[in-house]
């Protein structure tokens, strides 16, 4: 009995390649080995099953393609009304109606004018680290992990995911300066004689002894300093002569994007009315409902927390927290405001919870998550 011959013929039959003679031969072989019949039947059933298509994901992919066609000069209009929302203007307006920008009320418009004057000098360079052989200590946390360290002066520093903290060798001799890219929570040992300074690419924070959080990721739109206890002074790199003093439970937000935009405008033409977005604002810290912990420093307690934040901002936090990449396939969700707090949840549980309150869909393929 030639088993292999059966499979050759069966494959040909299923693929529509078998001739009439071969079909007869197959029938004959199966008569000779009836025990093979049930499995042949099951394989045939499996062959005919095709995966059902996820219509929503297909539609999202189509929209991405249609807007790409438009970009390349081949706009395509189908008759269906939903496709008129190529750039989602309709849905956008619905969303903004549903989710008003609550926080505008809190925002203090500070010093925008002063800063825009100085903008022509906008430095983007990092603080020059003396090329002279000053040995540096560097602590790096990869995405997906957090850590806590103690500096030589006894100050505690919690480092959030995707963060780099550097300090010079002379830190031990009382030069309390660190360089931060990413997010860190500081509990600084008080020493009025030796102020503690944190340098970021867009602001410096100077303290005597206190607890506060600095969030300065290069990829984020804002750089933020949040004060829990004590007092800190913040100096923006664009206007270092001005000192911003924070009180406990306040945070200073520097809008890096507005800076970049204004610089662009300043190069070309006088500032227009469009430019009124606040560059710097001081706000109250955010507390989630019925929570004692402020959102800003909750990560030090291993809680990923956000309150009324735009989905793309939340996505950046989740990317660092879970070490993944999140892509939007439906612009509608980029206008969505989210609140949430995750402690022990894994990525799938967190996505499911957010999905439950909003209705987006997602797909995980490897380290990439598609939101649609």
């Amino acid at each position: 009995m030639n088993n292999d011959r059966i499979w050759i013929l069966q494959a040909r039959k299923l693929s529509g390649e078998a001739s009439a003679t071969e079909l007869k031969e197959l029938d004959h072989l199966l008569l000779l080995s009836p025990e093979a019949q049930p499995i042949i039947t099951e394989v045939s059933i499996h062959w005919k099953e095709l995966p059902a298509v996820d219509a929503d994901f297909m539609e999202a992919t189509w929209l991405a393609h249609a807007s790409r066609m438009q970009q390349k000069g081949h706009p395509i209009q189908t008759d269906e009304p939903e496709l008129n929302t190529d750039n989602y203007p309709l849905e956008g307006s619905v969303i903004s109606h549903k989710f008003p920008l609550k926080k505008i009320g809190f925002v203090l418009f500070l010093a925008a004018a002063i800063i825009s004057v100085v903008l022509l000098l906008l430095p983007t360079q990092q603080k020059p680290i003396a090329a002279s052989a000053l040995a540096q200590t560097e602590v790096i946390t990869p995405k997906g992990s957090r850590t806590k360290i103690q500096l030589p002066d006894g100050s505690d520093v919690w480092l959030n995911a995707g963060t780099q903290l550097k300090y010079n060798k002379d830190f031990e001799n009382g030069n309390r300066e660190v360089y931060l890219s990413g997010e860190a929570f500081f509990d600084v040992v008080r020493n009025p004689a030796k102020p503690f300074v944190i340098h970021t690419s867009s602001m410096d924070v100077k303290v005597l002894g206190t607890q506060f959080n600095v969030k300065a990721y290069e990829e984020d739109l804002t750089t933020e300093t949040s004060l829990i206890k004590g007092s800190v002074a913040v100096y923006l790199n664009v206007a270092p002569e001005k000192e911003y003093l924070l009180k406990p439970n306040q945070k200073l937000i520097l809008n890096n994007n507005a800076l970049a935009n204004q610089q662009l405008m300043a190069d070309k033409q006088p500032l227009s009315k469009m430019d009124l977005s606040p560059v710097v604002s001081i706000q109250a810290l955010t507390y989630a409902e019925a929570s004692e912990t402020d959102v800003e420093s909750s990560w030090t307690k291993n809680i990923l927390s956000f309150e009324d934040e735009l989905f793309p901002d939340v996505a950046r936090k989740m990317e660092r927290w879970y070490n993944v990449e999140i892509q939007f396939r439906n612009k509608k969700w980029e206008q969505q405001y989210l609140s949430g707090s995750f402690e022990k949840e894994n990525l799938t549980q967190a996505l499911k919870a957010l999905q439950y309150s909003t209705g987006f869909k997602y797909k995980i393929s490897g380290k990439t998550i598609l939101i649609y």
Binding site: K48, A52, F57, R68, M69, E80, S365
Partner: protein
């Protein structure tokens, strides 16, 4: 969906092709996109192994279909034509990334569960389907791809051979091997159940 609907697809591709070529029918183009895009992207992915690049390749090809819609009727077997184009674009992409790279049939990465398949359905695959999926995954990449092209894309042996630069004889053998492995998986799955 069953074999009949897949055969319909062949016919409906030609039908849509005609609508697009003659009437610049955008809705027909969208339907065509729904039928072809996942196939093109999945196939390109098996070569470039990047979702983003594969999507770009598939999107470019579909764009070309619209751009050249007036001459669309000149293409006899559109699906195969586009799959061959997808392969060429993907191999070109590989060469650009690494000038020495040569496309090898053994260097494929085939995804059993397509991004476009319904997650609700795939999440609830029962045991039997899981063991079939595992059996397919255990096949050598080229064998997996041949199986997928025959089963899901309904391509003929000659067409698969042309697409992958293999002989028809190889397709014949590989497909028989794939079926036999799947049969073994089904049988062992069933005997496990009997033991319980």
């Amino acid at each position: 969906m069953n074999a009949n609907s897949a055969q319909h697809t062949e016919g409906s591709i030609a039908e849509l092709q005609y609508q697009i070529a003659m009437y610049e029918d955008a809705s027909a183009y969208k339907s065509l996109f729904f039928i072809l895009f996942p196939s093109l992207q999945n196939f390109a992915f098996s070569i470039v192994k990047s979702r983003v690049l594969a999507e770009e390749i598939a999107s470019d090809l579909m764009l070309e279909v619209w751009e050249r819609r007036k001459k669309l009727m000149q293409i006899e077997h559109l699906k195969l034509y586009l799959l061959v184009s997808a392969k060429n674009a993907a191999v070109h992409q590989l060469k650009q990334e690494n000038k020495q790279a040569r496309f090898s049939i053994e260097d494929l990465q085939v995804e059993f569960v397509s991004e476009y398949s319904n997650p609700d359905q795939t999440a609830e695959l029962h045991e039997l389907e899981n063991s079939i999926a595992a059996a397919v995954k255990a096949l050598p990449p080229s064998c997996q791809l041949i199986y997928k092209l025959a089963k899901e894309e309904r391509l003929r042996y000659k067409e698969i051979a042309q697409l992958l630069d293999l002989s028809v004889k190889t397709i014949d053998n590989q497909l028989a091997i794939a079926l036999k492995k799947i049969a073994t998986a089904i049988q062992s799955g069933r005997s496990e159940k009997n033991i319980r």
